[in-house]
């Protein structure tokens, strides 16, 4: 027995044994590592056997040189005849210009009609991207529904908040941060919306829509984990670094008589990445 022949025989035997072992592993409850390894051995055994067989045990099959073309190429007149056939057909159709125009019209109308099922695929955007679930007087609650009071947050800590009744809502998620009130440099019409240094912004990054997960208390910055857009919390969430082009919309707040933190309305602008309908 030649050496190559022995290798092929061994490979096929390994394959057979591994495949049978796979049965045993499976029946005895399975184990991903053993399954993967045995499957690899079984498949690899067959593969190795075939490859060694083909390359080492088929030396009598030599490389061969063949013409690339089976039949001679078309001649110039063949091509000419083809062109004439096509053109004659087109001419035959166009001869009835009235009918052929009607046919075009029908095809166009059918194309339009095909838009109808496509239209069914989605709701009309309407103003859904411009509004969220926040309304005047909505209580701020955390993801588990706990209402936020004026004393929930210590200075330089933050939490994710939702309008009460819409916990987990994707477009209404906001990040509430408490900072030293005198550090805030918000525009005059917005500073009243940050009582006691409690300031809230949309949590959706204006770059690609990832939720902002990181608050850097030392510099009072919010940072997006996806593409590192960074927003200055003190200065109206102005983007200070990274690819985000515009500030995070602010959620103006008030502290009610019951000490609950409430929104005074929706965000100051559309949340998330910009889109065509946005001014």
């Amino acid at each position: 027995m030649k050496r190559s022949e022995r290798i092929v025989a061994l490979a096929f035997m390994v394959a057979t044994a591994s495949a049978l072992a796979l049965f045993v592993v499976y029946v005895r409850g399975g184990n991903p590592q053993a399954e993967g390894a045995l499957l690899a051995l079984a498949l690899g055994g067959v593969g190795t056997g075939l490859l060694v067989w083909a390359t080492r045990l088929m030396p009598r099959i030599h490389d061969e040189t063949q013409p690339r073309k089976k039949a001679p190429s078309a001649t110039e007149s063949d091509r000419e005849a083809t062109v004439e056939t096509v053109e004659a057909g087109v001419e035959e159709i166009r001869r009835r210009s009235f009918l052929s125009r009607l046919l075009l019209g029908a095809a166009g109308a059918l194309g339009l009609a095909a838009l109808i099922p496509i239209r069914s695929l989605g709701r009309s955007p309407g103003d859904s991207l411009l509004t969220t679930k926040w309304t005047a007087g909505a209580r701020l609650v955390t993801a588990d529904g706990t209402p936020v009071t004026s004393s929930t947050l210590e200075v330089d800590s933050f939490t994710t908040v939702f309008p009460e009744g819409f916990e987990g809502s994707a477009d209404s998620q906001a990040v509430l941060i408490r900072v030293e009130p005198e550090l805030l440099t918000l525009p005059p019409d917005r500073s009243a919306g940050a009582p006691d240094g409690l300031v809230a912004y949309s949590k959706i990054c204006t770059h690609a829509g990832c939720p902002l997960g990181l608050y850097l208390a030392a510099t009072h910055e919010l940072r997006c984990p996806c593409h590192q857009s960074t927003f200055d919390v003190l200065d109206g969430a102005r983007p200070v670094y990274g690819p985000a082009p515009k500030p995070l919309p602010q959620l103006l707040l008030e502290i009610g008589d019951d000490d609950n933190v409430r929104a005074t309305g929706d965000f100051t602008g559309p949340v998330g990445p910009s889109f065509w309908e946005e001014a």
Partner: protein, 477 residues
């Protein structure tokens, strides 16, 4: 006997004997780099097999349920039916995890081998007339492969995939005029719409695989019909092909390769963990993993997003979203240019002839330079796509690293491209006129007592420049 009856039966009905005989004896040229396309083909076969298995267990539903499976950290947590079904498949169905991980590994190897195959075809000029259509189909297959990968890893409804999906949604949203409508039609409504998962599922298990299967069929039929390019052995003509006959040697080798591909992927699937969604947790819209890394083939797209400046354009009371250029226009231009490369090159070199020879990269220094620059560009972008991980590893600020990468993404391709061009040109010229040893000069004493100088004419030093074995010498365009 059985074979005889089969041949008779087919011939009587299809009159196909000469066709079959011809194709059994058809030869395919052999070179290690020709294996890359086969590798892609066989990974796709395995994707179909494992994917069919997975689809029988997956539930494409965002409806929430309380997790009561065997994985303790998630017990009692609200998860979607989709996430739960993938957990069940991974942790409870016997052999389920091996199937799932093999599927994911096969997807990575599929895109990787399509890319490697494309690089091989590019650098050897195998895309030239008459094979432009194969090239365009190949580029489309790459795009479809990336789409298949993306829709696939979005399905388990885990935290990582949800974040990726959110970015794609934002990219669609950024398209001028029709962005919001397109996003709503594709995803079913504002992110995260309840229809999303079932749509991704249909795209992933029907639309994209059907497209890939159809394109692969045409691609293979074209290779078969037009014959494979080759590095032409000396003494043969360009309109001939030299190689191994299909039956039995080439067939055995190719099937052997198929089994080896399956073996490696099954080994990876069983032994090397990938996409452990139970560690990521279920998708919640107000949470994102950090650091988050997409699969490798999306790394360069992620890199563009991370390096692109924060531009946003306002026109006539409308906004062109910031993602439109980096996530839609730039990738669109890249893939269009790639698909049209055969025509771009043919026009630049004014070469409209039919070619069957595979070229060595040195024979076309300009093309090789462009190719190398392109690879360098993607490598820098991929690094940028993991800038946070890289910064941590290098112990520098992400901001500093980003500044450096913004410079590197333009300079590295130029430097690599120029160096490749220069090296290729030098190698080519050396093939044409090999460096010879210097001519020997003899000094002889003459009768007058002085010296005569005589240069010895060395045959190799003065030989006519030989025409390169693999093609005519051409000035770079």
């Amino acid at each position: 006997m059985i074979v005889r009856r089969a041949v008779d039966a087919v011939d009587e009905r299809l009159d196909a004997t000469s066709f079959i005989r011809h194709n059994l004896r058809k030869v395919f040229p052999d070179h290690w780099s020709f294996m890359l396309g086969e590798l892609a083909l066989y990974s796709f076969v395995l994707l179909l097999l494992t994917g069919t298995f997975l689809s029988l267990f997956f539930v494409a539903s965002p409806t929430t349920t309380t997790y009561r499976g065997p994985y303790p950290p998630l017990q009692g947590q609200e998860v979607s039916l989709a996430y739960e079904s993938v957990l069940r498949l991974s942790l409870e169905v016997r052999a389920g995890l091996v199937m799932r991980q093999t599927h994911h590994w096969a997807a990575l190897v599929f895109v990787a081998s399509v890319t490697a195959h494309l690089v091989r075809v590019f650098f050897t000029g195998a895309f030239r007339k008459p094979r432009e259509l194969s090239w365009i189909i190949g580029v489309t297959l790459l795009v479809a492969g990336i789409g298949a990968g993306f829709t696939g890893y979005s399905l388990p409804d885990d935290l990582l995939s949800g974040t990726g999906l959110r970015i794609i949604y934002s990219a669609v949203l950024s398209i001028p005029f029709v962005g919001t409508w397109l996003a709503y039609l594709f995803f079913g409504g504002e992110f995260p719409a309840p229809e999303m998962l079932s749509r991704l599922f249909v795209a992933h298990i029907l639309l994209i695989p059907a497209l890939i299967t159809a394109l692969l069929a045409v691609h293979l039929a074209l290779v078969w019909h037009q014959t494979h390019t080759q590095f032409r052995p000396e003494g043969t003509a360009e309109d001939t092909v030299t190689g191994t006959p299909v039956w039995p040697k080439f067939a055995l080798k190719s099937v052997g390769l198929a089994f080896m591909t399956f073996a490696v992927l099954a080994g990876l699937g069983g032994l090397v963990q990938i996409n452990p969604i139970w560690l990521y947790g279920p998708f919640v819209p107000y949470s994102a993993p950090s650091p988050a890394q997409p699969d490798f083939y999306a790394g360069w797209l992620e890199g563009i997003l991370r390096l692109w400046p924060n531009w946003e354009f306002h026109v006539f009371g409308h906004t062109i979203g910031t993602l439109f250029l980096p996530a839609v226009v730039v990738p669109g231009i890249i893939f269009t240019a790639l698909a049209l490369w055969p025509f771009i090159e043919a026009r630049a070199t004014r070469d409209t002839a039919i070619h069957h020879d595979a070229q060595r990269p040195r024979e076309q220094p300009v093309r090789s330079g462009v190719g190398a620059a392109g690879i360098a560009f993607f490598v820098v972008l991929m690094l940028a796509g993991s800038n946070d991980v890289l910064a941590k590893y290098l112990q520098v600020e992400v901001d500093t690293l980003n500044g450096v990468l913004k410079v590197l993404v333009f300079t590295v391709p130029v430097v690599i491209g120029a160096m490749t061009w220069w090296v290729c040109r030098d190698l080519r010229d050396r093939d044409v006129a090999p460096i010879a040893r210097p001519a020997r000069t003899e000094f002889r004493r003459n009768v007058a007592g002085g010296f005569d100088e005589e240069e010895e004419h060395d045959a190799s030093a003065r030989a006519e420049p030989a025409v390169a074995a693999h093609g005519d010498r051409e000035e770079p365009s």
